[in-house]
């Protein structure tokens, strides 16, 4: 596909998601209390969108992933939250 064809197919969808993300960050700013590690993880990933890297989706996923290699001793709950608590804040 040409770039224009990609834009024709996906620009409005990407525009919508970008505005949703901006509105989410505004909503967080308007709210009270301390934010947990998830907000820092999301903010740390944002610059990856503007990078010249052609694998931005992979880079964002890696920025939100647990990079450690050893199994943990036991599970504390079953769920995942989408960001790694151990990431620098």
């Amino acid at each position: 596909m040409t770039r224009d064809q990609v834009l024709d197919l996906y620009f409005m969808d990407a525009r919508c998601k970008l505005i949703e993300l901006a509105a989410f960050l505004d909503r967080v700013d308007r709210s009270e209390g301390e934010a947990d590690f998830r907000l820092a993880a999301l903010r740390n990933a944002l610059p990856l969108l503007a990078s010249p890297n052609a694998e931005r989706a992979k880079a964002v996923l890696m920025a939100l992933s647990d990079p450690t290699v050893d199994p943990i001793p036991a599970a504390f709950g079953k769920g995942a939250c989408g960001a790694w608590p151990g990431a620098p804040r």
């Binding site: 694998e55 647990d66 079953k78 769920g79 995942a80 989408g82």
Partner: protein
């Protein structure tokens, strides 16, 4: 359009979903054992669940002309309790004789714990002893990258396992390459939020090639879309992929993998 749904938890879906999938071109459904959303209290709960997967659910699917196949295991979310997990592993062999069972799955990891890894190894041992195909679940979200690496290590450590008989499901952009490069099949799961969208799935296929990849909806009791595979086929068409290429991905590939078990027969 024709397609195979190789991973769907139909016990959690309404009968209308069977009809909608059939109308969309589905030719067969495969259902791996999974977590019910709560922990079962004993092996008896799994016995009943395996009966549901191998007896009741095929009859429900057959009402819509859909062959129904299943995979058996204890899901990694429940394998932290190793006593229960081993009790469940003990009853699986008697169910492997049932005519719609294709293999062991969806095994894998959830929070990447030592107990989960031990039970994963024991599932792999069971699959090797009974010469079964393997369907692997990779962890969710932040745990996926680490878990996928650990799973690959465990699989590669067992010389009886042939990568071409193992599909590692729920790959995303950061894990698809390592799975395919290790010789395993890769499954892309289409979820509204937590896994891949149709557009991202087609991106991955365009980059990685479609040789050993299947698509699945993994629809269950959470937010999920039983028609995600045909929607992704439409997405491929919007980008100019040929009908033959779409057919190879959504029908030919799952048939090629699943036919390694001669029980997988569709008319």
């Amino acid at each position: 359009m024709r397609y195979i749904e190789p991973h769907a938890h139909m016990v959690s879906r309404i009968t209308d979903d069977y009809e909608a999938m059939r109308l969309a071109g589905c030719e067969a459904i495969c259902e791996p054992a999974f977590w019910a959303g709560f922990d079962r209290s004993s092996v008896d709960g799994f016995y009943d669940y395996f009966c549901q997967l191998t007896d009741y659910e095929p009859k429900r699917a057959a009402k819509f002309g859909l062959p129904h196949f299943s995979w058996l295991c204890i899901n990694p979310k429940e394998s932290e309790d190793m006593g229960l997990a081993r009790d469940v592993l003990g009853i699986i062999p008697e169910f492997l004789k049932r005519s719609n069972v294709l293999g062991i799955g969806e095994i894998g990891l959830n929070k990447n714990t030592r107990n989960e890894i031990t039970i994963l190894e024991e599932h792999i041992d069971l699959a090797a002893k009974y010469d079964q195909l393997i369907l692997v679940h990779t962890p969710h979200l932040e745990d996926k990258f680490k878990g996928t690496r650990l799973i690959l290590d465990v699989l590669r450590a067992d010389s009886r396992i042939h990568p071409g008989r193992v599909i590692i499901d729920h790959v995303e952009e950061h894990t698809v390459e390592m799975v395919l490069e290790a010789g395993f099949w890769a499954g892309i799961t289409l979820y509204p939020e937590s896994k891949a969208t149709p557009a991202r799935a087609v991106d991955m296929v365009e980059r990685a090639g479609m040789k050993n990849i299947w698509l699945n909806c993994a629809c269950d009791w959470g937010r999920s879309e039983p028609l995600a595979v045909p929607r992704t086929a439409i997405e491929m068409g919007r980008r100019g992929h040929s009908k033959e290429a779409v057919d190879a991905l959504v029908f030919g590939n799952p048939v090629r993998f699943l036919s390694q078990n001669p029980r997988f027969q569709i008319s």
